[in-house]
């Protein structure tokens, strides 16, 4: 695990929030982009990968803030997805030692996490008596996010020098 000085860690956290904000805003461009349409869970992939690499950069408060902002801008139930993501990231953070070993394991863990997120979201939406999302579209976006996950990890490694920690 990379040890940061306090100032560097704070800078990294701010960068995470700023980058996430940028991803959200760009995905809202009213042109025919595929980012916002096919990969609404890209942000979850970024958060997940960063958390596995260096959990200090993504404190749960920041995650909650980012996904609350996303809920508001995406016209989703405010706070619902933020709660689910915080809960899932917390669970994964406690189990990250087993996930960090190989890319295959990490990828599998991510797939499970995304599916859990999607299923819980559908269940909670129904529990709140809201109209459920179309399952077909949801399945496509979940699959797309799982497929691009290695690209996200590669981008994190090359752009920000975040590599997988060697677990003791």
């Amino acid at each position: 695990m990379v040890e940061f000085s306090r100032a560097r860690r704070f800078f990294a956290q701010i960068s995470y929030v700023a980058l996430s904000g940028l991803v959200i805003l760009i995905s809202l461009v009213p042109i025919d982009t595929f980012i916002g349409r096919a990969f609404p869970l890209t942000l979850f992939a970024i958060t997940f990968a960063t958390m596995l690499r260096s959990p200090k950069i993504v404190p749960l408060g920041a995650v909650a803030l980012v996904f609350l902002f996303r809920d508001i801008l995406y016209f989703q139930p405010i706070g619902l997805e933020a709660f689910l993501v915080v809960a899932i990231i917390y669970v994964v953070r406690n189990a990250r030692r087993g996930l960090g070993e190989t890319l295959g394991k990490e990828w599998g863990g991510f797939a499970v996490a995304v599916c859990t997120l999607a299923i819980l979201k559908v269940i909670l939406t129904m529990a709140l008596m809201l109209p459920p999302p179309s399952l077909g579209v949801m399945a496509v976006s979940v699959l797309a996010t799982i497929i691009i996950y290695p690209l996200v990890t590669a981008a994190l490694a090359f752009q920000f020098g975040l590599r997988k920690p060697i677990m003791a």
Partner: protein, 299 residues
């Protein structure tokens, strides 16, 4: 050593407590939003009023670039396009001539019959600033709000067909709920069979057609218009054409290009006053009974 261990213990406890509070806070937000939905949506729109200018600033280069690419693509086949347009123009001139003649004839006939028509609908044009199409919601944000006298429920069209309706108005922005959203239900009329039905959005590109009385009279290719029932929309706005989807159901292909929204028209529409007193409709208003004795007293 023991002190450090105890320190860590308390730290962990504190962390767990703050996580718990965070979760409670998020759930509380969700519940408050669900219970007081209108206020929640108003707060959301107020936040968006602040965020949208920033988003536009950040996204400006991206939009520019994408338009540039689209333009480059069209330069490639400029020659072919030019010829095509010239041919089309020629045909259109002929049509225009015919339309003018028909319009004059129509006006003469209407005048002869003394027909009173509905006043023509007026519209405001706005620009789409945010496109929040997700698996859950099909909506967009347009840069017109209460400062432009936009009202909830007004129909939104592109140049050709219906896009959706206004659902939520902020000061400078309002939200368009598209016809493909799973919350959208719009009474429609299918021509030429004149059957009324309901268009149900289900988050797919083609909204479904429901509550049709006689399905055998409807064929793929029939045109669909808003029926004006329930006073939701003005009647006779073009919606799209009927298609049979791969799942065997009758669906509607919207005439509007919902994937590439740039400018939209918001149709001003105030439904005509409902008839509440049926006796007013038939015959003149009768003189009230109390008037007689009053007059006697006066004299």
């Amino acid at each position: 050593m023991a002190e450090i261990a105890r320190d860590g213990f308390y730290k962990r406890k504190l962390k767990r407590l703050s996580l718990f509070l965070l979760c409670v806070f998020l759930i509380a937000i969700t519940l408050v939003w669900r219970i007081d939905n209108t206020r929640g949506e108003r707060i959301r729109l107020a936040i968006m009023d602040q965020v949208v200018p920033v988003a536009n600033f950040i996204n400006a280069p991206l939009v520019r670039f994408s338009n540039l690419m689209l333009n480059l693509q069209s330069y490639e086949r400029l020659q072919a396009q030019n010829e095509e347009l010239r041919r089309e123009l020629q045909q259109m001139r002929a049509w225009r001539e015919a339309a003018i003649q028909l319009e004059q004839e129509n006006a003469r006939l209407l005048d002869l019959n003394n027909v009173k028509l509905d006043p023509e609908l007026t519209f405001v044009t706005g620009e789409v600033v945010i496109d929040a199409t997700s698996p859950f919601r099909q909506s967009a944000l347009v840069n017109l709000g209460t400062s432009d006298r936009i009202q909830d429920g007004w129909a939104v069209m592109d140049g050709l067909g219906l896009i959706g309706r206004i659902s939520g108005v902020g000061t400078d922005h309002s939200r368009i709920l598209m016809i493909t959203d799973s919350q959208s239900r719009i009474p429609i009329q299918i021509k030429p069979s004149e059957q009324k039905a309901l268009m149900l959005g289900d988050n797919t590109a083609l909204p479904a057609l429901e509550f049709i009385e006689r399905e055998d009279q409807i064929q793929p290719g029939d045109r669909v218009f808003s029926s004006g029932d329930g006073g939701v929309f003005p009647p006779d706005l073009l919606v799209g054409t009927v298609v049979r989807a791969t799942d065997g159901r009758l669906r509607i292909r919207p005439a509007a290009d919902l994937l590439r929204l740039e400018f939209v028209r918001i149709v001003r529409h105030s439904p005509s006053a409902p008839i509440t007193l049926p006796d007013r409709l038939i015959g003149p208003t009768l003189p009230s009974v109390t008037r007689g004795p009053n007059k006697v007293n006066d004299g």
